[in-house]
């Protein structure tokens, strides 16, 4: 389980989908980084990602990592948002995970991502939901 401190530092990107936009070349990085991989720029402005997009690569995890035993099979997808940014997210609300297809329109919703057992912290972030 990740530490409360690391999770806390990442709240802006996890809770509000804040990304870093390179002021030199305009590339949007999510999660934000220190150096732009495209132009090696080091100056960024904060932008908020759009919450709509489509599935680029769906997959179903059948051997779950610890903490996800009750959510198996677990659908996960690479989603391309409407501004072109791609991210890997869990997909929520699938009655049948195998129905998830390339090109499916999705939007990102605020969901509980993980919980540290019965007594630990709850971790929140975004998952994709089919429109």
């Amino acid at each position: 389980m990740e530490s409360p401190a690391r999770s806390w530092r990442e709240y802006p990107q996890r809770y509000r989908l804040e990304a870093a936009k390179c002021t030199k070349c305009g590339k949007v990085l999510y999660p934000p980084r220190v150096v732009c991989p495209a132009c090696h720029g080091r100056e960024f402005e904060t932008v908020t990602l759009p919450r709509d997009g489509h599935v680029v690569a769906p997959t179903v995890v059948r051997v779950p990592p610890t903490g996800f035993e009750e959510e198996t099979p677990l659908p996960i997808a690479v989603v391309e948002l409407s501004n072109g940014v791609r991210l890997m997210v869990q997909v929520a609300d699938m009655a049948d995970p195998m129905e998830l297809k390339i090109g499916d329109p999705v939007h990102l919703e605020f969901r509980k991502i993980q919980q540290d057992g019965e007594a630990g912290l709850l971790f929140y972030g975004h998952k994709a939901v089919r429109d």
Binding site: Y11, Y15, R16, E69, E70, E71, Q90, A92, D93, A95, E109, F110, R111, K112, I113, L122, Y124, K127
Partner: protein
């Protein structure tokens, strides 16, 4: 200065369980339950949906309908629920952080059985009216639970509604005409610390609790505002099941036409702190400029908050900017069986 609602939104989970599916497991007679309580199905939260997540989504929809309020200008946010995910640690901080309201804001969690949602609205409205804050969020959200096999298991459901209060005339959707509250100490329903499920005073609960408080609160606000039932376009009451709100409304002199648009419980269940607030969002979705809307909540313990709203010209411009409440109720449903329900609701103990 007139104060009112400048943005509203609701969130209903997609999962549903039919009443027959619950009755089957406990050997109960589904047709008599359906007739008696006027319930058909109820919403069920996924493993990843709770009071916090539903409040965030309802809050985002309210922000969209506000026409671009900068969240940083929202000075207060209250979230009423009897199913806050943490026993100690506020839901409100997560919700406020996710909505971008932090850090300069007064944030608090409220509890008062099923009326914590309207309590949050009451405080948000009052702070704006007092001039303490420019905008304030009032949210009601719950993922309530009934003990397996208990009558409550047929109705306890999940959902959220969020309202932004403000006073700028150009953003106003619904002006608050009047507020009124009626409260007594009535032990009709309770849950002690560390207990998973609540207890209720069984048959005792109807008359002295729900009916007495809702009747007095609704009558009180109508009298205070100098209005009669026929002056209102819509009336929304707390809906612990399908039957109670219609019965109380008829006793007060309201017609089915006034109550039907906000009467969601037969297909939604009882969303506790979300119940009458979500019903109000369904009414706002179809209301026309000039319409007067009555909202009367009920919380066991016991009390009833009432509001009368007057819809402005802007309401019809914002209705379709975010998902309509009836659309969420009627579409994209995922029906689950009792086994899945028991797993999702944590009724199965996992191995250590």
């Amino acid at each position: 200065m007139s104060v009112g609602i400048v943005g509203y939104g609701s969130y209903i989970p997609r999962r549903r369980i039919k009443l027959e599916e619950i009755a089957k497991v406990w050997g109960a007679d589904a047709p008599s339950f359906k007739r008696g309580l006027q319930l058909h199905e109820k919403s069920v939260p996924g493993k990843d949906e709770d009071t916090i997540t539903m409040a965030v989504e309802a809050g985002r929809r309210a922000l969209i309908r506000s026409g671009g309020i900068d969240p940083a200008t929202i000075g207060a946010m209250y979230i009423g629920s009897e199913s806050h995910p943490y026993a100690v640690k506020p839901s409100g901080t997560v919700v406020a952080e996710a909505l971008g309201i932090t850090p300069q804001a007064h944030v608090g969690d409220l509890e008062f059985a099923c009326k914590a949602g309207t309590e949050s609205m009451y405080l948000a409205h009052s702070l704006v009216k007092a001039g303490e804050v420019r905008y304030a969020f009032g949210i009601g959200a719950d993922t309530s639970q009934g003990a397996p096999g208990n009558a409550l298991e047929y109705s306890t459901a999940a959902g959220a509604a969020a309202f932004i209060f403000g006073s700028d005339p150009e953003r106003m959707l619904a002006e608050v005409v009047e507020t009124y509250s009626w409260t007594t100490d009535t032990p009709d329903f309770w849950r002690r610390s560390y207990m998973h499920y609540p207890r209720h005073g069984s048959r005792y609960t109807g008359e002295p609790a729900y009916f007495r408080h809702v009747m007095n609160s609704a009558k009180g606000i109508l009298e205070k505002a100098g209005l009669k039932p026929e002056d209102l376009a819509f009336a929304v009451f707390h809906q612990p099941n399908g039957k109670f709100p219609l019965r109380v409304g008829k006793r007060l002199g309201f017609t089915m036409e006034q109550m039907e648009p906000g009467w969601l419980s037969p297909w939604l269940g009882n969303t506790y702190s979300g119940a009458s607030p979500i019903g109000t969002t369904a009414v706002f979705d179809v209301a026309r400029p000039g319409d007067l809307v009555l909202l009367t909540s009920f919380g066991s313990g016991a009390g009833s908050d009432s509001f009368i709203f007057r819809m402005t010209d802007r309401i019809t411009e914002v209705q379709n900017l975010a998902p309509l409440t009836r659309m969420q109720l009627d579409n994209n449903k995922i029906y689950i069986d009792y086994g899945t329900y028991a797993k999702l609701r944590g009724k199965i103990r996992m191995g250590e």
